[in-house]
Symmetry: C2
């Protein structure tokens, strides 16, 4: 993804989750997916990495969530995370839990680490038990495939995908107290995307020295303005999980709130999460474009977030964007039903640079120019409410024939 050097961090072109010191990754096809795409992968750290997780708030949670929460909660460190796609291991009862524990314990044994130093994650179909013979064969082969190379990182990124079309990965570097620290991330997500406190699957690696508590705080803060601000279809998954692992091998003095570079690290972490979140939105099931809704002038940031998420989640707005129709009426209707304090007479709406509504009054605009803009691969919708200073950005995608096609035929 594009290079950005105007900030305190530098985007590393070609960087990956194995760029931070201490991390290897890998992936292979063990047979859970019907295609030949990889479906089993792992990230392994050569030292115990400080770890933090954010998980779905769906009350129905998949078995691997329980196991991973237990592992991360145990000591706040992880040596590895094992991920399968093709099967969510959700609503699979006692058998599902047994399988998730067996994935954790067997992989830990192969790596020669204790079970609670391994996290597990699954994504795919709900309600089918795992083909554990295939997972076991894959696990046996996986350690030999682990490497700190871009290719091995790509193998991992492919292994976590379901209906995604593209792999999603990013890496940045920044100076922390004179040492170079890297933060990298990989994610998957295309359908059942409406994260609530977490997202589908996201993995962040860093070689920064940082304890698991400040890491958890920063991860939650970053999640609130990135993964929690995207939606593909309004459906919150049973398997959402974002895990961060910090190896500490960059050699910096451990980061805490008192550290002078704490804010710089936080901002770089937000950037990494934002790139991944936007990549998930752009790769939403059936999507042809990324939609970015920017709300300002709300009573508070929280209010702006609620309004931005209502607009980005509107099926009518999403369909209009697909049809390249500058239908601002659907945008203002969504703003009005968000349940947040607004003044219905003071709303401005801009689509890209095209002003369509000022102080809630339609503005004549160039339909040809609007059509041309809406046919692009990124559409920005700006809403200014003029009732306060709150602002927020949300990301989503258009609603297309392909979304229906993909989801009308997913399971069968």
């Amino acid at each position: 993804m594009a290079s950005r050097t105007d900030l305190a961090y530098t985007v590393i072109d070609g960087g990956s989750i194995t760029t931070p010191k201490g991390f290897k990754a890998g992936g292979l096809h063990c047979g859970l997916k019907k295609t030949t795409r990889h479906d089993l992968g792992a990230i392994v750290c050569e030292v115990p990495a400080a770890a933090a997780g954010v998980y779905t708030l769906n009350q129905v949670q998949a078995a691997p969530l329980k196991v991973t929460k237990e592992s991360v909660g145990e000591a706040g460190t992880l040596r590895a995370v094992l991920v399968n796609s093709g099967n969510a291991n959700a609503c699979t009862g006692a058998q599902g839990e047994e399988d998730a524990y067996r994935m954790r314990d067997d992989f830990a044994a192969q790596l020669g680490v204790t079970p609670h130093q391994v996290a597990v994650a699954s994504t795919g179909v709900i309600g089918e038990t795992l083909k554990m013979d295939r997972v076991s064969s894959g696990m046996a082969e996986l350690p030999a495939r682990l490497a700190a190379t871009p290719d091995a990182a790509d193998d991992f990124c492919q292994a976590i995908l379901t209906t995604d079309l593209v792999e999603k990965s990013v890496c940045v570097a920044l100076p922390i107290g004179g040492k170079t620290v890297h933060i990298a991330g990989a994610a998957k997500g295309s359908g059942m995307i409406h994260p609530n406190m977490a997202t589908m699957l996201g993995f962040v690696t860093t070689d920064a020295a940082i304890g698991s508590e400040p890491l958890a705080a920063l991860l939650r803060q970053a999640t609130d303005v990135t993964f929690n601000m995207i939606t593909v279809d309004g459906d919150t998954s049973t398997n959402d999980m974002l895990l961060a692992m910090a190896s500490g091998l960059a050699g910096n003095e451990a980061l805490s709130e008192a550290h002078p570079d704490y804010a710089a690290f936080a901002s770089a972490l937000i950037y990494v999460c934002e790139v991944l979140a936007k990549a998930i939105a752009r790769d939403g099931e059936g999507a042809t474009k990324l939609v970015e809704v920017k709300v300002r002038g709300a009573r508070s940031d929280a209010s702006a977030r609620a309004i931005a998420k209502t607009v980005i989640g509107s099926s009518l707005v999403k369909s209009a964007v697909f049809g390249a129709d500058a239908n601002w009426g659907r945008i203002i209707a969504a703003v009005g039903r968000a349940g947040e304090p607004i003044d219905p007479e003071t709303i401005d709406i801009r689509i890209g640079a095209i002003v369509t509504l000022e102080q809630s009054r339609p503005v004549a605009f160039d339909e040809e120019a609007a059509l041309a803009y809406l046919k692009g691969d990124t559409v920005e919708i700006h809403v200014d409410l003029h009732v306060g200073e709150g602002e927020a950005v949300a990301w989503g995608c258009d609603l297309t024939y392909d979304y229906v096609r993909i989801n009308a035929a997913y399971r069968t």
Copy 2:
């Protein structure tokens, strides 16, 4: 619609909004729609009818809402309601308000009644001012078209449609204190349907004698379990309005809570609203079938309603129904994210008669039978939570290619 005589009321086949004594209706094409379908209609009562309204909770409200609230609020009676389709008269500023008042005042003058005895309603595109010359020509011609015939009622029903495919109307009769009372209704709605305290446009006529206050109370009660329980796309309109008018010409002793037939009247009114609400859901934009979600065993009825609406609103569930895929995983995922108290281990899910989940464990089922059932024109989804006695029913439709086609090209 089908005859039902097992209840305290009888469905009148061929009945319409002009069956209750005192009402005439009519409709014509004045040129607001590009097609030749009617786009201007009215219901007129020969006496002042007790009136009550329920309106959208969207904070952005169209001009006719303001005018109608003023009319209904003035004396609690109405002589007429004038409706146009093809233009919502929403976000049209001072000009829009002026136009809505002019519709009310001019039509009142033609009928020889006072302005506040006329309500107005609009539906269609947001943000364009009304072509008032066309509306005026139509209004001049309309009084001569009004009649108490089924054909005239049909003309009205057609005049209020937008992307709807079918007209929606129902009529019942019941004895009230020895007199025969009729309740009839007409409605429209196909897109931007996620009513919050009201629905798109609904009109109920009755010849019962009832004051505007008990009528308003019963209308709100009926709305909560009917129109407020349907969703097509999760978008609440700026123009939602449900109006009831009672002529009193049935000659019954005025209905109040103390009247022995009050409950029978309430139940007949709920039936009328339910028929119309289900008809809107079945005629949802692009829909190929009606989906009915029945939740029981929730902590409370309110909780059951929230869960039922979350399931019926899930794009993933809706796509699966379109694809005739018995994808109960998406149903339980929606139940889990509804934010209501559940026990994730005690959920039963049944699709029609086919049990797919018992106590949150998958049950092997006949995929062929499920496919055959899901290909029908009505799909029932039953969820039993086993945590209480609360229950609710919600109605919606499937998400199809046609929904996207219709909404990707609506305005342009």
